[in-house]
Amino acid sequence: MNIGMINLVLLLSLPIVAGLFLAAIHKPGIALKLHAGFAFTEFLAALGLAFSRPEPTRLFMVDGFTLCLVPLTAFILFTTAWFSHGYLAHDIDTGKIQARHLRLWHVLFQSMALSMYAALVSNNIGVMWVAVEMATLATVILVGFYRTHAALEAAWKYFLLGSVGIALALFGTILLYFAAEPLLGQGMNAMTWSRIREVSSQMDPRLLRLAFVFLLVGYGTKIGFFPLHAWLPDAHAEAPSPMSAALSGLLLNIAFFALLRGKMVLAGNVAAGMASSLLILFGLVSLIIAALMLLRRHDLKRLLAWSSIEHMGIMGVAFGIGGPLGSFAGLLHMIVHSLVKSGLFFAAGQTIQTLGTQKISKIRGLSASHPRLAILFGLAFLAAAGLPPFGLFTSEITLLVAATGKSAWLGLALAAGLLIAFAAIILKLSGMLFGEPVENPPPTHPVAISSVPLALHLAIAAILGLFVPGMLWGFMRDAIAMLG
């Protein structure tokens, strides 16, 4: 067992240990701190994985694409845990959640973490599906955690749509097996992703197309592509903010990751063309519709949720275009969007607790009333709007160049979508940051949320916009080569 394997085992077992351990801790203060500590150890394990990775097995594999996302996921889970320290404490103070439910929270949170890690390191399309399904289950309950009528309803909607999506993805997975089985023989080989990819050029393109359609509609529901997106705004708006952050920043990525594993299989096949076209189509439609919908949002968290749909659309186009530029843009966008969007939800959570409202019309003049919060809040929004120096700027420019290179009309449509989205985000941001502040009742309990997680996210997003470290670039190159 080499070090890589130890890292992998650690990564997958730590959440279990943490979940079991935290299930036994009754005191919220300690539990919240411990939770952050556990998340940090997971992050360390994930980092370790980046430095020494195990040999692929039939169940697990760590490649460049995995490593683009594993440390990121672990990092965001860690910062989310850090953020929830202050956030949930305030929720307990104000009675929005009960202290005894915190144990459930931690268990579910860790099982979500586990399933996400499992999905990322899986080398088996079945395991990956199970992992994504588990993640869905855990998050459904977390989304409904406030148990208000709205929250339960959002959770139910999420559950229903997500389950159907998951079911369709399973059908796609089975079809993939069907396509691989004649070449790789019955049994585990035909479900081992790395093996499937090796023989993909000889697979029946029609069966692959069919499989991809199911994967696209299935995982696409979890990604939030329009018109499969309906659960997403509700779930993000009603979930506790740390959960919204994890949903937008991580879970969507995981679903995208699963879909892209499918696309990588197709990359070597003549069916690749259809996969690319469909991704571009879904991406573009999602982008443009979400951009328009952003204009009419009145709720801060729904705004952010729609912005996630928009960004997923951008990634869809990027990965659909593919090639060195397109895939790079997609990967960078994926990474930075996770950081920025989860950061934005941190900022939103803090704002909502401070002002006691999540209605955009009630948030005004933040830069005058809460200057320190406003700086980070504004920066996060600007980052999400794709302004420099944050990484989304880099990825969007690269993408636009790649898109225009493919077809000038595609570039034009993309630019139109991006411009509308930009207009909407800035319109809302400007109203929230500037002008005379609205008189909101002061919070009944002090809000003690650390700004460090958000600042960290923004700093990394900014660095990635200007400089992609050599190691990450190495991982990305692997992934780009596979994405085709």
Binding site: S163, E181, G185, L207
Partner: protein, 221 residues
């Protein structure tokens, strides 16, 4: 694998598809539940048949789960739920039954067409089975959207799952089926649990899903 074994599997799938149509046809909730139970039982038999045919004993576990959980436990639980709520037992069809049936037939045609378009040299029959599984999945989906009733929706969902399990067991030698079906059962359980939670906890007096959708979007400013 000889002809008879295939024919048997084929027949079972065919009957399951028929049950899907029956599900579409039901106007009353108990009827719906009964039809589903039968479909689940048929699935259990089909899985067992595959277990025998492929010589894969672990498939029996799947069969057992299907039979116990879906063909027995869930239908009973649902029937109890309905009795306790004593709500009107009619399914509120959003789409006229006849039209739904017609649409279902089109869906069957579509699944056949999709599968025919991929004639893998070795496995024409497999394709046909897959087509039936796909048709069951699509019909389950159709139930979910054509009936505005929470029980009907859950049953539609479970019917989708039946199709999936059928497809999975028919894939020769597909590993992890057990794990997948267990995972799926959890989903189903959660669905039923969700139903209970909503309808018993809040004492709704109807199963019309419209009551689940008060807070559909966001409030205006």
């Amino acid at each position: 694998m000889n002809g008879f074994e295939n024919d048997m599997a084929h027949t079972l799938s065919g009957v399951m598809l028929l049950m899907s149509f029956l599900l579409l046809y039901q106007r009353r909730i108990p009827g719906l539940i009964h039809a589903f139970a039968i479909q689940a039982a048929l699935l259990g038999i089909a899985v067992s048949w595959q277990a025998v045919m492929q010589g894969e004993p672990h498939l029996f576990i799947t069969a057992l789960i299907v039979l116990l959980f879906k063909a027995a436990f869930i239908p009973i639980a649902l029937l109890k739920l309905i009795q306790r709520l004593s709500v009107p037992q009619a399914v509120e069809p959003v789409m006229a039954i006849g039209r739904t049936m017609l649409f279902g037939i089109i869906l069957c045609g579509l699944s056949l067409a999709v599968m025919q378009s991929s004639p893998q040299a070795s496995a024409l029959i497999v394709n046909e089975k897959l087509a039936m599984a796909l048709a069951i999945v699509l019909l389950g989906f159709l139930i979910m959207i054509a009936r505005q009733n929470a029980v009907a929706q859950v049953i539609g969902f479970m019917s989708i799952e039946n199709g999936l399990v059928l497809a999975a067991v028919e894939a020769k030698g597909m590993p992890l089926i057990v794990e997948i079906s267990v995972a799926f059962s959890v989903l189903v359980a959660l669905a039923v649990f969700g139903l209970f939670m909503f309808h018993i906890k809040d004492r709704f007096d109807t199963l019309d899903t419209a009551s689940l959708e008060n807070v559909r979007g966001e409030e205006l400013p």
